[in-house]
């Protein structure tokens, strides 16, 4: 999948990911992309070097209380067991691990003609929306704009819109002023991971009922 990735997150998005200031659903999609994309892994590591340099450089405050280590490194502690990430060939590792999910197990629910989804729970519900989306081969999605930031990662299949073609591993990182009408590739269904963060005014009950379709 990583062989032909051509669309990456916006630079500002990737920096916010490295600083851990992205809303959770957006961070989830970027993490999934980074797990598939050597270029963005290397970029993230450079941004973390920047974060580290800033952390070291932020000056100590004068008059602060001294800090004593509470523990002494006398007894060897057992090494922390590292949880093994369940590897699923089709779902990116961070998503498979966080939701204990494999592509075969996704309980798809129909959302409209040729559209299925599965919502992924977030720790804070008001952080936005994260879901897996399955779009029927050859379908044209309704023309739509966005109420806020939206990041889509293609997992299988492809789609295209005015901005280009998106295949496995590619990310489309759009902000609110973009309108587009994605057309799904003809050969197979397109499965995406999609995160969106809506401004507060879209969060009314009516909005939530009608939005799942209109925002696609």
């Amino acid at each position: 999948m990583s062989l032909s990735i051509t669309h990456h997150p916006d630079d500002a998005t990737l920096m916010a990911y490295a600083a851990a200031t992205l809303a959770e659903p957006l961070a989830a999609v970027v993490a999934a992309h980074v797990s598939l994309c050597p270029r963005c892994r290397a970029e993230t590591a450079d941004l973390e070097r920047l974060g580290a340099a800033l952390m070291l450089g932020s000056p100590r405050r004068s008059g602060e209380a001294p800090l004593e280590a509470r523990h002494r490194a006398v007894d060897p502690l057992p090494a922390l067991a590292r949880p093994r990430v369940s590897r699923d060939e089709r779902l990116p590792a961070p998503i498979a691990a966080a939701y204990q999910l494999s592509m075969e197990q996704i309980p798809w629910r129909r959302l409209g003609p040729g559209v299925w989804h599965h919502r992924l729970a977030l720790r804070e519900a008001d952080e936005g929306d994260l879901r897996l989306l399955r779009l029927g081969a050859g379908r044209t999605m309704p023309d739509h704009g966005h109420g806020g930031a939206e990041i889509t990662l293609v997992l299988e299949g492809s789609y295209s819109d005015v901005t280009g073609e998106y295949r496995g591993g590619d990310v489309q990182d759009v902000d609110e002023d973009i309108e587009h009408q994605p057309i799904v590739g003809k050969d197979r269904d397109c499965i995406c991971l999609i995160a969106s963060v809506q401004p507060a005014r879209f969060k009314s009950l009516i909005g939530r009922i009608t939005q799942p379709w209109t925002r696609l």
């Binding site: 993490a31 800033l54 602060e64 502690l77």
Partner: protein, 200 residues
């Protein structure tokens, strides 16, 4: 208006002392000998900085100290798994502190990996043999870039990395349009990338 970020980043001074080489030695002494002295040195070097980081991220004094302790204990426990040639100690500690902050202060699921996990996930053919040397070079370059960045760019990246503000929050704090914040971030990023590209 005096901005927190610029106020606390004296231009041209206050850049980190070069501690990386020494830190890697400390880590290997912690890992191999479980050396208490080495742990104390590591703590003296990083404890106050990590606590300061947590304070800037909005923790109160007690929580900031708890999280600084936990960061350094994590270093102690995992030092045996950490290989100095896979990434710098400083960056590793930054990622530990960042992830603890996300988990404990923000109560969000942590999506970012620690650098030791990233290194483990890398296929061996992506890891050049001279990685340790290039790691040191990369850090020197990163610090040089920071020195050269215009103050307004240092300000936005500091507000992101150190104060933990989103782009929207930075825009609010500085009274700037969101687009201006993002373009300053992109400019800073572009300079970082340019400075590092020949080390790839």
């Amino acid at each position: 208006m005096l901005h927190a970020a610029t106020a606390s980043w004296p231009t041209g001074t206050g850049l980190p002392r070069p501690v990386r080489g020494a830190m890697s030695d400390l880590l290997s002494r912690i890992a191999k000998d479980r050396s208490d002295d080495a742990f104390r040195s590591l703590f003296e070097e990083y404890g106050p900085r990590v606590r300061n980081f947590m304070l800037r991220q909005g923790a109160d004094a007690d929580v900031a100290e708890d999280l600084a302790q936990e960061t350094l204990i994590t270093v102690w426990r995992k030092a045996g798994m950490y290989s100095a040639d896979k990434g710098s100690a400083t960056t590793w500690i930054y990622t530990i502190a960042r992830n603890l902050r996300t988990d404990h202060l923000r109560r969000r699921r942590v999506w970012q990996e620690l650098t030791d996990e990233q290194a483990e996930a890398l296929p061996s053919n992506e890891m050049p043999a001279d990685e340790a040397v290039s790691e040191r070079q990369r850090q020197v370059r990163v610090q040089a870039v920071l020195k050269e960045l215009p103050e307004e760019q240092v300000e936005v990246v500091t507000l992101a990395f150190i104060d933990g503000l989103s782009h929207g929050e930075i825009a609010d704090r500085l009274g700037l349009p969101l687009g201006t914040v993002k373009s300053r971030i992109r400019l800073a990023y572009q300079k970082l990338r340019t400075a590092l590209e020949d080390l790839r």
